[in-house]
């Protein structure tokens, strides 16, 4: 009986003598949208890196759709249906916005090498089809008019959106967003909230979002729950209102009140 899409059990990782993630368990059901917050250095991005196997854990288990994915290569994990964005944007700088998104579709080529050399009608059809799908994704994130711009020439906010579109192009079931609102002002945050909600409702992804903008997290996770990490350990889990009034969380963010 395992209907949960992602099941992280007692995950621990040590960097030298530092325990970056300590005995963390997270369980997600299909279609959920959860937030992951915590002060700087809490180990949030490390958890994403562990899920996508950019880092190997010291102990613990990660099951995706009931299968253990620990030790599988990052590209294999992506093909299984986990995709992500990066905290410090990692687009392909010299490729156009369109090419960045397109890559997500064909990172596992859809035709054989021989077909690539002679470009059979089937291969051409696949390419036209891919092009259509990539343009649809670009339209969804409002980047259609920038499709021929070099990724590195796009403004910061658009690069974040482009990264999201690229992650969606790999056809994931679980989408990991690493600080999608970093460096955005309130207006941009509101647009982003709308976009992420639209993506969540139309594409039916299960999503985990790391974010420091509390209004973004509280808004997007209002029907669901938020995980709070501190110094590598799970500090609290709960609805946004529970989290906001949790004394441990407040202490972790603001520090101990001075008793003199």
């Amino acid at each position: 009986m395992s209907q949960e899409i992602l099941n992280i059990k007692n995950l621990t990782v040590d960097f030298g003598g530092v325990r970056a993630v300590n005995n963390v368990s997270i369980m997600l059901e299909p279609g959920e949208f959860v937030g992951l917050i915590g002060p700087n250095g809490a180990g949030k991005t490390t958890i994403f890196n562990l899920i996508t196997n950019a880092i190997k854990p010291t102990a613990g288990e990660i099951d995706f759709k009931g299968k253990n994915i620990l030790g599988k290569s990052p590209d294999r994990i992506c093909q299984l249906g986990i995709s992500r964005t990066f905290q410090n944007i990692r687009l392909f700088p010299q490729m156009t916005a369109y090419e960045n998104v397109e890559l997500g579709f064909h990172s596992a080529p859809q035709y054989s090498l021989m077909e690539a050399f002679v470009r059979t009608p089937r291969a051409r059809r696949i390419e036209i089809d891919t092009r259509k799908k990539a343009m649809e994704l670009l339209e969804m994130v409002n980047l259609k008019e920038h499709s021929h711009a070099r990724a590195s020439s796009l403004p910061y906010g658009l690069q974040r959106r482009l990264e999201m579109a690229r992650a969606m192009a790999t056809n994931p079931e679980l989408l990991l967003l690493d600080e999608p609102a970093a460096g955005m002002n309130d207006d941009e945050c509101n647009d982003l909230i709308k976009l992420i909600r639209e993506i969540h409702t139309t594409m039916h992804y299960t999503m985990i979002m790391i974010e420091h903008h509390m209004n973004v997290v509280m808004d997007l996770c209002r029907d669901s729950r938020i995980y709070v990490l501190n110094l590598g350990s799970m500090l609290a889990v709960g609805t946004p209102t529970e989290i906001q009034s949790n004394p441990d969380v407040i202490r972790a963010y603001l520090g101990e009140p001075k008793n003199d």
């Binding site: 996508t52 950019a54 290569s73 990052p74 590209d75 294999r76 992506c78 093909q79 995709s83 992500r84 990066f86 990692r90 687009l91 392909f92 700088p93 010299q94 490729m95 090419e99 397109e102 890559l103 997500g104 064909h106 990172s107 596992a108 080529p109 859809q110 035709y111 090498l113 690539a116 050399f117 002679v118 470009r119 291969a123 390419e127 690229r166 992650a167 192009a169 790999t170």
Partner: protein, 318 residues
């Protein structure tokens, strides 16, 4: 006329090998200073196919290229498995190509000792002993047929350019480009690094192998001294000067780098020093190469065609 033919043939051969390096270095971002080794493997193999087995010349070229491509896995698999990149991979290719050359240098004595062997491991290789003797070691593999002509080379260059274009614009080629720009992001987006790099290396070595074959059938003999590190660095120079992520750039420089030493015969000895100097200049002022990121396309031809066509139409109407 013969002199010009020679330049065209050698230039064309250099272009084909440079296209191979462009696929690996320009598009996948893996530096190689060992493509002379793949040229040697392809050259010797296609020569053996034609001379010893009587295989027709074009098929032998393809078989030689395939052989070079397969040999590339010997270096590619362990290197990419252990995630060698940058200078480290370049050094590995250099080692491979030098090992190949030294092995070829000693085929004669190796073959002789196998032929003479009465027992032991030599007995296992008995059938290929005489063949190794024929390859001739440092003295060269003599009396090959010489069907490489200007026509053959021009056709080969056009085909090579066409298929290289097909490859780099395919999904495989685009994955290669992604690897060259951000390996980690490419892998996270689902690109299988090992497989994609091996494919790029295979195609690249295939091109070098075919170039080696054409060379064998032009000179009508082969010696390991054709395939020194100088040859490899010439090819890398063509790609670095010509530009990364460009096919037309390496094609132009691949030809110019053959033409240039011919025009300045007296300076030929100084070539490597001049290259080194130019490398530094290019790296400082134009790190992407002269035609870096300039894709070969036929858009301009289409525009010209439209212009001419429209002019004619409007003049007919007027």
């Amino acid at each position: 006329m013969g002199y010009i033919n020679t330049i065209i043939i050698l230039g064309g051969i250099n272009i084909i090998a440079a296209l191979g390096v462009a696929i690996l270095t320009g598009y996948t971002g893996l530096f190689t200073i060992g493509h002379a080794g793949f040229m040697a493997l392809g050259g010797y193999m296609s020569a053996i196919f034609v001379k010893e087995l009587g295989v027709p010349f074009p098929i032998a070229l393809l078989l030689g290229g395939t052989f070079a491509g397969l040999c590339s896995f010997i270096i590619g698999y362990p290197a990419f498995r252990s995630e060698l990149r940058g200078d480290y991979f370049a050094v590995a290719t250099l080692g491979f190509s030098e090992a190949t050359r030294l092995l070829l240098n000693n085929t004669r004595s190796m073959g002789q000792s196998i032929v003479d062997a009465e027992s032991g491991i030599g007995m296992l290789f008995k059938p290929i002993g005489p063949l190794l003797v024929k390859l001739g070691g440092v003295f060269g593999y003599m009396n090959l047929p010489g069907p490489t002509s200007v026509f053959v080379v021009v056709v080969a260059v056009i085909l090579a350019l066409f298929f290289a274009h097909m490859f780099v614009t395919s999904q495989y080629g685009k994955n290669c480009i992604a690897i060259s720009q951000d390996e980690v992001a490419a892998q996270m987006m689902g690109v299988n690094l090992l497989k994609t790099k091996m494919i790029a290396l295979f195609v690249s070595a295939f091109y070098a192998g075919v170039a080696g074959g054409l060379m064998a059938f032009y000179f009508a003999y082969l010696t390991p001294s054709f395939f020194t590190i100088t040859k490899s660095s010439d090819l890398l120079a063509a790609v670095v000067f010509g530009g990364i992520q460009s096919l037309i750039g390496p094609v132009i420089t691949g030809f110019v780098l053959v033409l240039f030493p011919e025009l300045l015969r007296t300076f030929a000895e100084w070539r490597l020093i001049i290259y080194g100097f130019l490398f530094v200049i290019v790296m400082i002022f134009r790190p992407q190469g002269l035609l870096g990121y300039v894709e070969m396309n036929f858009q301009f031809a289409r525009i010209w065609w439209k212009k001419i066509f429209h002019r004619r139409q409007s003049s007919q109407e007027g």
